[in-house]
């Protein structure tokens, strides 16, 4: 859950009275843009991306305009621009117009929790406005501080002295930067980055720090961010329908994290627990449809809902339903497997049979009862299956699932479809009585 840009950034900064550049949103009228240019001499036109997207400047995605005509041309260029970083692409949804802030000094500031220091940590330099990694270490202050007392003025003063910051910027920063801890700590953030903060001359020539760009990440497990009243759509940017439906299950105990790896995949592998998820996703590669961590010991209802949603979206294209994990410590295997079996039976009841091979590798409490329940259902649905205990290596079971998948692709699927009468898809559940 990340937020970038000044459109919402300026609103958040105002909660703690931190000065910001003047910003207009995509809906700004020509008169408003013109007035903004008049007040500030020029404006920056920046595309609005949902979620965390960085390095826009480097990609030439920031426009600058000194007149309305250029501003509108830049608006047209950037409104729906696509920004590609590595494998992922993001599409802009509008632009902002930000009043230019004249300044001699640009400051970089960020707050995050450092795993090196094991404490909240401030990163600060007076040589901001560029990528922080490119600066020599001695010009960057990285200072951990005490969470219970927070970011205090003296921490900032010491840091600025250490890196030899110009003296005229020290006092304004010491006065203003501690406010950002309030925003960071009290509203459920995990990172906050302002780059640049431009030091604008104010009344009497005294410098005022003005935030000109904004990035933050929120903690999904912290309800404090909801105090900000941000619209939900900001965080729903690139979730598919499937992911959104699954995400709703987060209200149950434990987590429900899911990611579509390959929407053309043929192995459906819902996994429980982070370890199994990492291992399986890595080993399956492009065969996997989803990568998921539904948390340890899911209750029956959650498990059944998870399975129901997974089946609804992916079962028709799946060759293999692959349920894999180590020897669980506390997860009740019977509850999990029974829930999956019930969801599978219901799916077949509603949608008719689909060719599917079921491969399982698992250990844990009530293992045999769970395997028994699932076996009975698969027998009733006439589906082929092979279950391995926890004494078979997980990675070997993954290889086996892939071998079955290859066989299904090479004619096995047709063979099975014929046996199931899956051509007659409108048919009733094979579990209907005599």
């Amino acid at each position: 859950m990340q937020l970038t840009g000044m459109l919402y950034g300026s609103k958040l900064l105002r909660y703690v009275e931190f000065p910001t550049a003047e910003v207009l949103g995509p809906e700004a009228s020509e008169d408003e843009i013109k007035a903004l240019i008049v007040r500030h001499g020029s404006v920056f036109v920046k595309p609005v991306f949902k979620g965390g997207v960085g390095k826009k400047g480097k990609a030439g995605l920031i426009g600058r305009a000194r007149d309305l005509k250029t501003a509108l041309a830049e608006k047209e260029r950037l409104y729906f621009v696509e920004h590609r970083v590595g494998n992922t692409a993001a599409k802009a949804q509008g632009v902002t117009f930000e009043g230019a802030v004249p300044a001699e000094h640009e400051v970089y500031f960020s707050l995050t929790d450092s795993t090196r220091f094991r404490a909240p940590t401030m990163t600060l330099t007076h040589r901001g406005g560029i990528a922080i990694e490119e600066l020599p270490k001695e010009q960057v202050a990285e200072i951990p501080f005490e969470a219970l007392t927070g970011l205090k003025a003296f921490v900032i003063a010491n840091a600025l002295s250490d890196i030899g910051a110009p003296k005229e910027i020290i006092s304004p920063l010491v006065q203003n930067l501690p406010k950002l801890w309030e925003l960071f700590h009290n509203y459920g953030m995990t990172t906050l980055e302002l780059n640049p903060i431009r030091m604008m001359p104010g009344k009497g020539g005294r410098l005022v720090p003005v935030a000109c760009d904004f990035k933050c990440g929120f903690d999904r497990d912290d309800p404090r961010w909801q105090r900000l009243g941000l619209p939900d759509h900001l965080f729903a940017a690139d979730y598919s329908d499937f992911e959104q439906e699954i995400n709703q299950l987060r209200t149950y105990q434990g987590q429900s994290d899911v990611y579509v790896i390959n929407s053309q995949g043929t192995i459906l592998a819902p996994t429980f627990g982070g370890g199994a998820n990492s291992l399986v996703t890595q080993a399956l590669g492009d065969d996997a449809i989803i990568s998921s961590d539904f948390g340890g010991n899911p209750p029956y209802e959650k498990m059944r809902d998870v399975a129901r949603i997974c089946f609804k979206y992916w079962l028709a294209q799946s060759n293999v339903l692959f349920i894999i994990g180590g020897k669980s410590n506390n997860t009740d295997i019977e509850a999990t497997f029974r829930a999956m079996a019930d969801a599978l039976r219901e799916h077949f009841g509603g949608h008719g049979p689909t060719p599917l091979y079921v491969v399982i590798g698992r250990g844990g409490p009530n293992l045999i009862r769970g395997m028994g329940a699932l076996r009975d259902t698969l027998e009733a649905l006439s589906l082929p299956y092979r279950f391995f205990g926890f004494d078979s290596a997980m990675s070997e079971v993954v290889n086996y699932a892939q071998a079955i998948n290859r066989w299904m692709k090479a004619g096995g699927r047709e063979q099975l479809a014929q046996r199931l009468g899956a051509g007659a898809r409108a048919g009733t559940s094979p579990a209907t009585g005599g």
């Binding site: 979620g51 965390g52 795993t115 220091f117 404490a119 969470a147 219970l148 700590h185 995990t190 903690d219 999904r220 309800p223 404090r224 987590q255 899911v258 990611y259 627990g273 982070g274 370890g275 990492s278 890595q282 990568s291 961590d293 340890g296 010991n297 180590g326 020897k327 669980s328 410590n329 506390n330 019977e334 019930d342 219901e346 009841g349 250990g363 844990g364 409490p365 045999i368 009862r369 028994g372 329940a373 076996r375 009975d376 698969l378 027998e379 009733a380 092979r386 279950f387 205990g389 004494d391 290596a393 990675s395 070997e396 086996y400 079955i404 066989w407 099975l416 046996r419 009585g433 005599g434």
Partner: protein, 900 residues
């Protein structure tokens, strides 16, 4: 601000050796000890560790205990109370919900100066709270394990603290040896220990670190403590992307590092463990490199390319850990801890390729599982039908669930709207068999109902008549009959059903209609044979067999019992028919054996309740309601019969359908309804843990006594209201759209009157009674409100081209009330209105002709409700017998209130 601890750290660390992580001397206090997870895990940890938990807390539950093998663990409201009671501990374990963890840590740190360690099991703690937890612990000099972890364990000390490492049998995974384990994944902590044991390596200390942003006891601390632990000769470390915990580690002992999660670098947002957001140089590849540089190797270790040094190896697959470890240890001259225990090769425990032609390399044969799982599998193969785990079933149901938004109840996953499309005979079975009937099953049950509905000469009928004569409502009348159908009258049929199940369960018979099955395979003892025989020729048995033949139904079991001799008893025939119906679901393990053996009882109860709802005069030796017995047996359906009891005639298809829909809709309103509660209470009181002792007829009486004029009479309220509106209109046929009445005008007139009256009453401080059938608290927040059940039914009848003036009137009324300003939106016509309208449409001709009084209308409405609900309650009774515990529906005294 931090307390100075051990080692070179710039923050507090108190553990100098892994031997100190989980010791025999540690004494533990568990916060939220009675929570769902702790109450399962803590007793096992306590027993494994020789009784290390001194007490637990759970606010408001002081005085309770958590039972364990080593005796009860006391519970206090707070930590201070436990300390005041004289308990001492040095380790806190936190099972609190996420929002409470920080305060729990503060409590532990503040009130117990002897505290040295905290293990936090809870997941989803906010980073905000983790920051503050870190600061509190640093200030006080406390080591924290977790959060979001499964705790710590020590195979040498035989101790585990916190979470469930090793599951419910820690000794199966925690073998004493020479390898320490550190893992970001809780499950893998255990799985790696199992893999090591298979290769001949045991363990010293196991640390499940968790994978939050803040890992308090992390890799640097682990490695430092490893160096100082004389027992540990090496370690396995499992890491995932995110965080710099593994960077710049200083190793003094061999390490096998497993780094998994390269794929996460492709993602732009966190998946899995909260801290595993990859990118910025702490992704899986970076971590692999950090380890490889430390070990002086230039490749990942795989079986094909076993790259390793005496310092260690890096793998990306946990299955390669044992081999890598053995190789690294060999370079250090260290031998296995013990002989390998098993192998990690593929060993299928269950398989069925369903006759598919799989190539040999993937057609792996089933192998016998390791103990104790092999014995469990053998037992499973013998098991007949489904076995449900027992639990408290108070307000719980494995049968029905009502959707809070649509108010539509599902029974065995099938919506009652769908049930309403099914004939009564199919619904009677679905309640117990969990699936609707095919044609054969319908024929079978119709024979049973037809055979048992006529109660001529039976004391059940006399009892029902006496109850009726005393002015009782139909529920009390039917209770009198049901009370008499006790176990003594059904045991012979249940025994016969039991015998059939024993004889055929392992015979390979899957379909009871399969009359080609070779019966010579079935060996019957004399004692078994006797269970199917009567002393002399039993005419009822003969008639039932003949009826089955007339209906061209198939039953292997019927053929079987007939083959045993001439004098087959009626109980044997009943058992054979019931077992034919139950066989498919039983073999597919959809139902329990208990359900199958009780089916004859349920079927007779169904028939008895239908029969007893008409007076004794209509039960004659050869006829029921004027229809010859043989005709009923040979051709009538249960739906026909139920209709006959109420209307005294055979229905035309339209009326029969309306009747079927009505009964179907009334099957269930979920487990919270009073009738279901009555039925379940009756089962609970008999003690379902001794299922053979539960009196099913009494449980049906429980349902009947828990229905009444309020619960069961709602349809009648609707009828009364409609009768008031239509009594003087001269309406002849409500099914005819050309009835000549202007329903809109009628509705408006009523709405105006109702509005005036309501206003006047409000002035006087009173309240006008609501109109029965209009509005439902759940469906009233839109401009026009519809109950989805009502919408479904309106569509259903519209499709069939059937009109109902009463139903239309209700819609007109809802609109008129809004238009006249009486209601602020268009109220919803609810399901009670539909039931009233359907019923009255059916009864209207008789009411108009004077054949039915208003009292008769009420009796009919109530009886239809009972017909529907007897199925839903039969399902709840059966479910409670299968799953419930003795006396589980009682309410704890602390939950009860006194009012004065």
């Amino acid at each position: 601000m931090y307390t100075k601890g051990v080692g070179p750290f710039k923050y507090f660390v108190g553990i100098s050796s892994l031997a100190e992580v989980a010791t025999r001397d540690d004494r533990v206090c568990v916060l939220n000890i009675l929570g769902g997870e702790s109450s399962e895990v803590t007793p096992v940890s306590h027993a494994y560790s020789g009784g290390n938990v001194v007490f637990g807390t759970s606010p408001g539950r002081r005085g309770q205990v958590l039972e364990s093998q080593l005796g009860p663990i006391p519970v206090f409201n707070s930590v201070r109370e436990g300390l005041d009671a004289g308990h001492r501990f040095n380790t806190g374990v936190v099972y609190l919900p996420p929002s409470g963890v920080r305060d729990g840590v503060a409590e532990l740190a503040r009130v117990n100066p002897e505290l040295r360690k905290i293990v936090i099991i809870t997941e989803k703690i906010s980073v905000h709270d983790a920051r503050e937890i870190r600061a509190i612990a640093q200030m006080r000099g406390i080591d924290v394990f977790g959060a979001n972890c499964l705790g710590v364990a020590d195979s040498w000390n035989h101790v585990r603290i916190g979470g469930p490492l090793g599951g419910d049998a820690p000794e199966e995974s925690l073998f004493k040896g020479s390898v320490a384990i550190y893992s970001n994944s809780g499950n893998f902590t255990n799985t790696i220990a199992n893999y090591l044991a298979a290769a001949g390596w045991g363990t010293t200390t196991l640390v499940s670190s968790g994978k939050d942003v803040y890992i308090h006891f992390a890799a640097p601390e682990f490695v430092y403590a490893l160096s100082n632990d004389r027992r540990s000769k090496a370690a396995v470390m499992y890491s995932e992307p995110g965080g710099y915990y593994e960077r710049d580690l200083v190793f003094t002992k061999p390490i096998v590092a497993c780094v998994v999660g390269r794929w996460k670098a492709k993602l732009t947002r966190a998946v899995g463990h909260a801290g595993a957001l990859a990118g910025s140089g702490d992704d899986a590849e970076s971590k692999e490199r950090w380890f490889m540089e430390s070990f002086g190797v230039n490749a990942l270790f795989t079986p094909e390319n076993p790259a390793c040094s005496a310092k260690g190896a890096v793998v990306t697959n946990i299955a390669h850990i044992p081999l890598a470890l053995t190789k690294v240890m060999a370079l250090n001259g260290i031998n296995l801890d013990f002989d390998p225990r098993g192998s990690l090769d593929l060993k299928p425990w269950f398989a069925n390729d369903q006759g598919l032609d799989l190539p040999a390399e993937i057609k792996l044969p089933v192998v016998e599982a390791i103990a104790p799982y092999n014995a469990q599998i053998a037992q499973l193969q013998q098991q007949i039908g489904r076995v449900f785990p027992r639990q408290s079933m108070k307000d719980c149901s494995g049968v029905s669930i009502m959707d809070a938004h649509t108010q539509i109840t599902r029974q065995h996953g099938i919506s009652i709207l769908e049930c309403a499309r099914q004939p009564l005979e199919s619904n009677l079975c679905q309640a117990l068999m969990r699936e609707h009937n095919g044609a054969n099953d319908n024929a079978m049950i119709n024979v049973v109902i037809g055979a048992e509905v006529n109660l001529h000469g039976d004391p059940m009928l006399a009892a029902a008549d006496a109850s009726r004569a005393a002015g009782n409502a139909p529920n009390a009348v039917l209770s009198a009959a049901a009370s008499i159908l006790g176990p003594g009258r059904i045991d012979a049929a249940r025994r016969a059903a039991d015998t059939l199940i024993d004889l055929f369960a392992h015979s390979g018979l899957l379909d009871a209609r399969d009359e080609s099955f070779d019966l010579r395979k079935i060996v019957v003892s004399d004692a078994a044979r006797a269970r199917f025989m009567a002393d002399s020729r039993d005419p009822k048995a003969q008639a039932m067999v003949k009826a089955v033949q007339e209906r061209e139904a198939k039953s292997l079991f019927l053929n079987f019992v007939r083959g045993l001799g001439d004098h087959v008893s009626r109980d044997a025939v009943l058992a054979a028919i019931a077992t034919t119906i139950a066989w498919g679901p039983l073999m597919r393990k959809r139902i329990s054996r208990e359900t199958a053996r009780n089916l004859p009882w349920f079927l007779r109860l169904y028939a008895t309740l239908i029969g007893a709802s008409v007076s004794g005069a209509r039960h004659e030796a050869g006829r029921f309601c004027g229809i010859p017995n043989q005709e009923i047996l040979g051709s009538w359906s249960a739906t026909d019969l139920a209709y006959l009891t109420l209307m005294g005639e055979r229905a035309n298809p339209e009326r029969l359908f309306a009747f079927q829909v009505l009964v179907g809709l009334l099957i269930s309103n979920g487990v919270g309804s009073i009738s279901a509660q009555g039925a379940k209470g009756a089962v609970s009181a008999d003690g379902p843990q001794s299922p053979e002792r539960v009196q099913i007829n009494k449980a049906m009486v429980g349902f009947l006594t828990h229905s009444g004029y309020s619960h069961g009479g709602a349809g009648y309220e609707g009828i009364t209201f409609l009768v008031e509106q239509f009594r003087d209109t001269g309406l002849a046929d409500p099914a005819n759209p050309k009835h000549g009445l202007d329903l809109a005008v009628m509705a408006r007139r009523f709405a105006v009157e109702y509005g005036n009256e309501k206003a006047a009453l409000r002035e006087a401080g009173g309240e006008r009674r609501a109109i029965p059938g209009l509005n439902h608290p759940v469906f009233r927040d839109k401009p026009v409100n519809r109950d989805p059940r009502e919408v479904f039914l309106q569509e259903l009848f519209r499709e069939r081209g059937e009109y109902n003036a009463f139903h239309e009137y209700y819609h007109a009324l809802a609109r008129a009330l809004f238009e006249e300003g009486v209601t602020r939106n268009v109220f919803c016509v609810n399901i009670d209105a539909v039931i009233g309208a359907l019923l009255l449409k059916m009864l209207w001709p008789r009411y108009r002709s004077g054949a039915f009084s208003e009292h008769d209308l009420e009796v009919a409405a109530f009886t239809i409700f009972l017909y529907g609900r007897m199925m839903g309650c039969a399902a709840e009774i059966d479910d409670h017998i299968n799953r419930g515990r003795n006396m589980d529906t009682r309410t704890a005294a602390s939950q009860c209130k006194f009012v004065s």
